[in-house]
Symmetry: D2
Amino acid sequence: MFKKINISIIGVTGFTGIELIRLLVNHPYVKLKYLVSKTHGEHSKDYGQKISDVWPHLKNICDLDLTDMDVQKVAEESDVVFLALPHHESQKIVPIIINKTKIIDLSADFRLHDKSLYAQYYDHEHDYAEGLSQFIYGLPELHKEKIVSAQNIANPGCFAITAELAILPLKGCIEHVSLFAITGSSGAGKKPQDETHHSIRNHNVTSYKIGVHQHIPEIIQELEIEKSQLTFVPTRGPFTRGIHLTAYFYFQKKFSQKKIMNLYKKTYAKAPFVRMKKNVQLADVIGSNFCDIAVHNVNGKFIIQAVIDNLVRGAAGTAIQNMNIMCGFDETLGLKPISPIFP
Amino acid sequence: MFKKINISIIGVTGFTGIELIRLLVNHPYVKLKYLVSKTHGEHSKDYGQKISDVWPHLKNICDLDLTDMDVQKVAEESDVVFLALPHHESQKIVPIIINKTKIIDLSADFRLHDKSLYAQYYDHEHDYAEGLSQFIYGLPELHKEKIVSAQNIANPGCFAITAELAILPLKGCIEHVSLFAITGSSGAGKKPQDETHHSIRNHNVTSYKIGVHQHIPEIIQELEIEKSQLTFVPTRGPFTRGIHLTAYFYFQKKFSQKKIMNLYKKTYAKAPFVRMKKNVQLADVIGSNFCDIAVHNVNGKFIIQAVIDNLVRGAAGTAIQNMNIMCGFDETLGLKPISPIFP
Amino acid sequence: MFKKINISIIGVTGFTGIELIRLLVNHPYVKLKYLVSKTHGEHSKDYGQKISDVWPHLKNICDLDLTDMDVQKVAEESDVVFLALPHHESQKIVPIIINKTKIIDLSADFRLHDKSLYAQYYDHEHDYAEGLSQFIYGLPELHKEKIVSAQNIANPGCFAITAELAILPLKGCIEHVSLFAITGSSGAGKKPQDETHHSIRNHNVTSYKIGVHQHIPEIIQELEIEKSQLTFVPTRGPFTRGIHLTAYFYFQKKFSQKKIMNLYKKTYAKAPFVRMKKNVQLADVIGSNFCDIAVHNVNGKFIIQAVIDNLVRGAAGTAIQNMNIMCGFDETLGLKPISPIFP
Amino acid sequence: MFKKINISIIGVTGFTGIELIRLLVNHPYVKLKYLVSKTHGEHSKDYGQKISDVWPHLKNICDLDLTDMDVQKVAEESDVVFLALPHHESQKIVPIIINKTKIIDLSADFRLHDKSLYAQYYDHEHDYAEGLSQFIYGLPELHKEKIVSAQNIANPGCFAITAELAILPLKGCIEHVSLFAITGSSGAGKKPQDETHHSIRNHNVTSYKIGVHQHIPEIIQELEIEKSQLTFVPTRGPFTRGIHLTAYFYFQKKFSQKKIMNLYKKTYAKAPFVRMKKNVQLADVIGSNFCDIAVHNVNGKFIIQAVIDNLVRGAAGTAIQNMNIMCGFDETLGLKPISPIFP
């Protein structure tokens, strides 16, 4: 038995913030300490609201007050701080709180080792590039040993983690991989945009940022391939949650079906949230931290498909999995009871 | 055979604007003259675009340039001008173009005869209240004779026309009517809002402005009832197009099923766009100008249901029906070929 | 601390069956004993499958074998048996297992006290009418004291429980109530039908069985009103889970807003799964056992709205709530951690 | 001006049958003669119904009686007969009516030149293999000259035509192409199935028949490639209409962007229903006969995307386009007024 740890969330009113709450209220060793929101802070017109005033589905589940208190104080009184902020916002907070608490950053700010890649894909220079080396990329299936002793975690991007989990067992064997990934509207965040207008999104499918999406350098970094070896087609789909990814491979040498299957089984033998399936369907993982993966063989060419819930496995769920590992808890705590919701 | 008339649309890049185009390109006696858009006008950064650049589904269908030219000139060179603007915007344009062309205003600005009701429901004083009396309320099934000789039409609101068509045959008999109406997201317009965020709207049902919705005074005015005789519950549904309305009645005297049915048949005997059905379903009218109506009798209490496509019968379709009547064309021109799209 | 009880589910492969599993795997005092399915039983061609073979989202969550073993044996080895069968099927099983175990029947077979009403609304004579008096109607907010000592529970219908929870505090005051309720497709069960064809259901709204729906006698029975006092319009909506209900009231005497609010607060003071809200939205309860209720006052007429998840509060969740009460557990066990999934 | 031709549809109550009606009622030179339906025929319990009784959205649009009269008589009294039947059904009708009328078969029965491929992909021997050589594959953009003088047309499959239009300009240059295509539920036909259950389909994405789908031989035949050069991943998406296809290429030699673009422009210079776009979105073509195509270049690798409405361009629309060409009408008659319905 553990003593409860104090957890705070900065940027709590976004979709990943409320998903963290949905999951953390079930965690046996977690006490929610501060819910920080700039837009509902002490100096805003919306001050005085609880999280369940802003998001009423949380009523009776989490009725904590929102605050915009000094983040240094938040950090000092918390064992772990989750940053559920847009990219470019986390890098303003991190210098203030680093080394004062454990940090799990769900933004893109500390995922890339190379600050020039950050500048290229995120359209501005990094404000705290010296912090990049102090973060571990939070993909437990790849970096568990480092995460155990990490102080700061950069939680993977939603497309990136889907691609990485789909491809990880084949690392080192890839000549070229083409990816098609279709994502739900919740991946775009809560701020209304043309792309997430219901009338436009509903019954629509459209690709965007083909070959230039900001998750590309992350995938390349973790799979240790060159940019020219990856073709990535991110696509918007007419559903709320989830990513369905298809990977078409060219390998450096020929593989048997059996060999491929063994690579996957071996890689994920001790991974509680990866399920190998004969075929995957998006609905099977919604609400859960599972990544389902299937291997298909067409005339000797291999096609790998993977599905996740972008708000759980692609954000809050993996963040809690990282927290569990960092804090010495069982990796599945607070996440195992969360079955997929089906239908 | 008629000579083609010149038609211009002011506020063309909204959902009702592009729906007008979808329908008017099929009209045998219409030539689209000017497509006016303030946001894509000569002084904007987006100037130089065609309507099909902004809305690419129109490519090869309507590739006219967008303009923000002087509306007086637009009016002078057009036989009919459609105003597809938000409310409060039309009343700024109308004083400039009135009596220079026929006007069909799809906004709410000239629907109410009483300027104080306008101020109450639309939150500001009317800027051109003297114009109110110069507009005919464009419900062809009620005011066809006036529309024939009208110069200016105030096109009905989408909820309002559904309620009015559902109830019209019972005008004069109602003690009280309770309405439940559920609408698609396109009714909220193209500007992204929290309520039309796909992640929020999709799989959600929520009522709003219960008893205070701005279409209430319009319904009351046309059905000639008191506010206290109407309970209106407008509701947002998880679909793009359409309104499904249910009316629960208390009558001043007892009616037989046969009597009610006769009232409906008589009222709509010559209405080409009203279909009496045993039961209605929203999908049966989508894309078309039909209003389907069904009468149900439960233990002597009558329930009337009506369905429309909010962008056609609730906006662009009725506007064109009004134009046809004003211009001496067959009422159904350009609208009859538009079958519902099903499934 | 309690010893774990043995739970079996008969009819486990339907939507309510798998929802029971989703919830029960999180219950601290429950051990799933037998998962009974006739279609996957020992004599069927599908024998040998696990529940997670039939419904792969359950892989690694519940991998128990399916069986079609003798239900008497199932009953004898189980502390509680859930019957997740279509109506008319439960009444064939109940005579065999009654008094051998606690029964929670999710079908309609034992909800009505009057066998003639059953025959009228379900189109056939009841096969085990003598059993009707041995079942308690499982609405915890109304019959908690009886449920504490009950052996057999008839779990409420999904529309019925929504209406009952919406109206319960006004019991005894109603002159007439008109209901509009819109439900998701999961309410129709897993067997594909025209009404649940995605192409037909998606983007459609249509009412059915107006005034003759089989949940009417249940509502009347529990609210102790006459059939003529209720107008019920059940409606199919384009979403998977949930019921959104609107009730329009005529009262026997005049009520103040304050009086009404007090009735609701008092009735639900100790109800852990009823939340009073200013406004309700369907998305706020999906995945959870909550019923959210809001009271609206329009010109002195009261409109009550209520929302539930039909598979949780309308089926499996209430069933487990009943089980908790029957077994002396805290009423919320296994249900409290299940937050709504939003967005 | 042409005299109207008599058109009959066999298998009219399916999704492609009613889509043919939606489009044909707008065709200036078409008179609908017989609507043939076995399930609503003279000997069935449903006899006596109009098409608008079965599909009430057609009320006042097409109220013709359904019949199951002798198909030979249908053929003799019709200038063109559309067969909107499931595969394996058309081949029973064709021998009776061939050479008595023009035939446009929307099933898969006469698309493949090689009867052994038919047997392999459709799981039974062809009943009328001698008829295969008498049909022209109805892809107007490829076979227009043959269609002009054709008596019998095999209308392309919905996935197949999307792939063929996407790839056609590159015919002869392909080393390998990987396809990802996601389709709406209407492609599965009106008969309810597990895969089209709203609760399952809605919010789901799942691939099926990877590498073995029955449209593969059709694509290979028309593009003149080997099976090993094609990897096809057909996928079910949560929407009603449309196919969105992505093609990843390996070429036999290196191409410049300009060269590729020229190939597309040249191939489709006179194709009224192909629109080249910078980017495609599914919603832009829904309801219309357009195929929108975009070319993307990622690090020198080319990705082609194409979108169609599966019921129009993938079935009824192309069928009418073929009819127009066969009958000497303008290719676009009855199809041009059908703008996409957006949003």
